[in-house]
Amino acid sequence: MNERKVIESILLLADEPVPASLISEVLEQPRAAVERILETLAGEYRADDRGFLLRETAAGWRLYTDPECDPYLERFVTSHTNTRLTGAALEVLAIIAYRQPLSRAQITEIRGVDSDGVVRTLQQRGLLVEAGRDQGPGSPVLFTVSREFLERMGLRSTDELPPLADFMPDAEAVEDMEAKLSPNA
């Protein structure tokens, strides 16, 4: 058996990301070997400047079109529902991505504004999912970002997000903010 070949055929047949573990089961080959081949394939496609790419995300490995080809693909792509998100939605998404799992109340507390509607929208869009319940009083539902979100971001897990510190206002900006809130200003 030519493993590379079989793996390629599986990727072509699959209509969603395929975990390496599943391929390893189907091939009856150790997972590490499968992953090595997947990585080699991904590198080959890139090096050959193909119209498709092989990416690994949280959901698994999947063939994607190269974003460079996007302008030509309009009529071949099912129109995605408008994916533009409001600033509020993005903020909630960011809070959850960095602090998950969180309950609605915790999100609201961080933002200082009721966020239930936004959470519901994000959930409907498939970007957030419920992930069990908190042990605390009232055992509120906890939310995490979805696999689909990670797939769209091209991330294997939320650990791959840039450190939150990268997004902090710099010291000068914070000092300025502090000065403006100072009673003695």
Binding site: L13, D15, L93, G154, M168, A173, K180, P183
Partner: protein, 266 residues
């Protein structure tokens, strides 16, 4: 010229304050706490044009701002408990603002990532014919009840969030109005406790506004203040030396646009 803020743009109190505090000023004058507070209150006065679910949050931040602003009118006493707790409150507000700014920035990064991600199209085509019959039975373990439950989930009326705002009375955040009102009362009664001056106005913001008004009157020499105990009621004495109108002129920096005639928050 007054800086106009469209409140609809803002998601909540932190968002609004963050905007006011970080925006680039066109003119060279420094943005002071006083200006920010006034602009915040002015923007908040328009709150009845919004749904009111965030009104409470707006009020809490407003009260903190007003307290901070009023603090500069008093002589600072080192180690004063009230002052240090006020500064703690300030630091908390600052921390929340920084957090808010951070997540907003992170959100912008996510937006860019999602936009970029939308340019990758995953392979998602139907199974080749020769495999279709092999695919496992999708309906295994699915009963009509599962369908009904799924349908109910989708069709169920989403809970309508009705915010009980009866506790939020019309916002009267005008210090100028309060000065005129207090002056009137004091002129007639000479000696009045702060508690009595606040009357039924139990809203924190109204108390704060009245307190600010009283401080203005005190600064101008129109009243004398007396506080027997540390946390006791303050008694105000009308001196009769200054006219309320003069105080008003000096205090115009406090003027806050009154809510539109249609009334305040409902």
């Amino acid at each position: 010229m007054a800086y106009e803020v469209k409140l609809e743009v803002f998601e909540g109190p932190l968002d609004l304050l963050l905007h006011l505090i970080t925006r680039q000023r066109v003119d060279i004058y420094e943005v002071s706490l006083s200006t920010i507070t006034d602009e915040y209150l002015r923007a908040m006065a328009a709150i009845d044009e919004l749904d009111l679910e965030t009104a409470t949050g707006f009020l809490v931040v407003a009260a903190t701002l007003l307290e901070l602003k009023s603090a500069r009118l008093l002589p600072q006493r080192a180690g004063d408990e009230a002052t240090s707790s006020l500064l703690e409150e300030r630091d908390l507000l600052l921390a929340r603002l920084v957090e808010c700014a951070t997540f907003r920035e992170a959100g912008a990064w996510l937006a860019a990532g999602l936009r970029e991600g939308a340019r990758f199209h995953g392979r998602e085509v139907a199974l080749e014919d020769r495999f279709v019959d092999m695919a496992p039975d999708l309906l295994a373990r699915i009963a009509p009840d599962h369908l009904a439950a799924a349908a109910a989930r989708v069709f169920a009326p989403k809970p309508v969030i009705e915010w009980d705002t009866s506790h939020v009375s019309p916002i009267r955040a005008s210090v100028a109005d309060a000065i005129a009102e207090l002056a009137e009362t004091l002129k007639a009664r000479e000696r009045v406790s702060f508690g009595a001056l606040c009357g039924r106005g139990t809203e924190r913001i109204e108390v704060v506004v009245r307190f600010l008004a009283l401080l203005e009157l005190f600064k101008a020499g129109a009243v004398e203040l007396d506080q027997a105990d540390r946390f006791g009621d303050i008694t105000a004495l009308w001196t009769g030396e200054v006219d309320a109108d003069e105080v008003l002129q000096e205090a115009d920096e406090y003027s806050v646009a009154a809510p539109p005639a249609s009334g305040g928050a409902r």
